[in-house]
Amino acid sequence: MNLCDNFRAALAAHLESGTGTPRELGLDGHVATCAECRFALENEEVLELWLQQGELAGGVPAGLVARILAALESERDLFPLGPLLGTVPAPNVPAGLAQRVLEGVRSRVSAPAVAATGDFDGPGFDRPIFRARSRAALVAAANPAVVGRFRRRTFVLAAVALFLGILTTVVVTRGIAPTVPVELEAALDDPSDELLANLDMLEDWELLAGTEDDVYLVVGALDEFDLWLLELAAAQSDALVPEFETTARERG
């Protein structure tokens, strides 16, 4: 018997007589390399999950298990999806891709930090900050943990300061008295560990989520000041945020 036969026999024995699952019997290593057997095991595990939920909800009617299993087996015989999925050809990777990617990445991380916000239509955020952070990652550090944290603090605080400066300019040019909240000034002067930890987390989140344009919108907790900032940003933006549109117009 080959590995597939062994696995299917163990799975059938488990389904019919309640012996250990293939995983419990140590046969699950095979599913790492065999998609068909893994799908068979998945079906069985999903079924068991349903049955457990059914038991919690008040018990499983007699014979239901056998009927479901029979339906699953017949369905599997009629619709062998696995081979059909295998008909999709592997994508062709263009020649020289790695070299082009490498050159592209290098050119982008070595680009000068010039003001270039043409490709970004957010309300006043400056792209070079993000580019500076990208470049910084390529600089070899004697002590990456310490220098990296210092660097992140510096960039984050610079970003917050820039953001605040832009907003203040906007407020002044619109004739509204700038009222920088005391809490934010204090945070800029002496950021708490909690704030820095949150910024680190946001940086990680932004990195993985790919939405760096939004990260500084959520730097602080969403309190009344944040809502005011968003209103202000909406008033300055060509594309008004719908929920702030009325308020912005009312404020004139």
């Binding site: 790492a32 390399t33 998609a35 893994r38 799908f39 998945e42 079906n43 595990e45 999903v46 999950l49 369905e75 009629l78 619709f79 062998p80 999806l81 059909l84 999925l85 008909t87 999709v88 050809p89 592997a90 994508p91 990777v93 263009p94 891709l97 790695a98 082009r100 990617v101 490498l102 592209g104 990445v105 982008r108 991380v109 952070r133 990208s134 990652a137 390529l138 070899a140 550090a141 990456p144 990296g148 660097r151 940086e203 990680d204 990195l207 993985l208 989520a209 790919g210 939405t211």
Partner: protein, 209 residues
Amino acid sequence: MTGTDHPTSTAAADEGADLMLRWRAGDERAFERLVELHAGPVYALLTRFLGDTPNREDLVQEVFLRVVRARDRYAPSARFSTFLYTIAFNLAANERARAELRRTASLDAWAGGEGDAPDGRGRELVDPNGVRPDSELARADAGELVRSAIAELPAQQRMALILARYEELPYSEIAVVLGSSEKAVKSLIHRARESLRARLAPLLEEDYA
């Protein structure tokens, strides 16, 4: 991509993390090797997920740019491929959402006036819910039909299926990539398979009944 040329399976999985750590320690050649090893698989993953969109190379470059930015913070708590696919999935999902937005806006603009469709073709009277005729099914390549059926799955279902079936990632890693739980991944894959069965029923009946 087949399971045999997958760079992140078993022992090779550690190679990605090892290269990342060596690069962080100053070995620039390690980063080159990372790109050489993983650019192809990332491109293949994006192709399976997004289809033949023209900017896949740009997205691959964007994925590695984010790897560059993560260098100081990278911790090998998961396989390098898991880390890489997480970034790729999020970028691809964003890209798809943007493309969908552009397409919707373009179609809205077109629907509001007269003239040809945005792609330059004339207006066609097509029933969007119509079933493709059997003759068309027969002409089309089976692989292309399966690929288009997969393309119609919701993003999370599609990526879960691609990672499980074509990239052969275990559920635990798919859960990390999707930011979900293993149970949720099982459910996603189950629902994806049910959807595919329904969509591909004519083909399945024809070939296997």
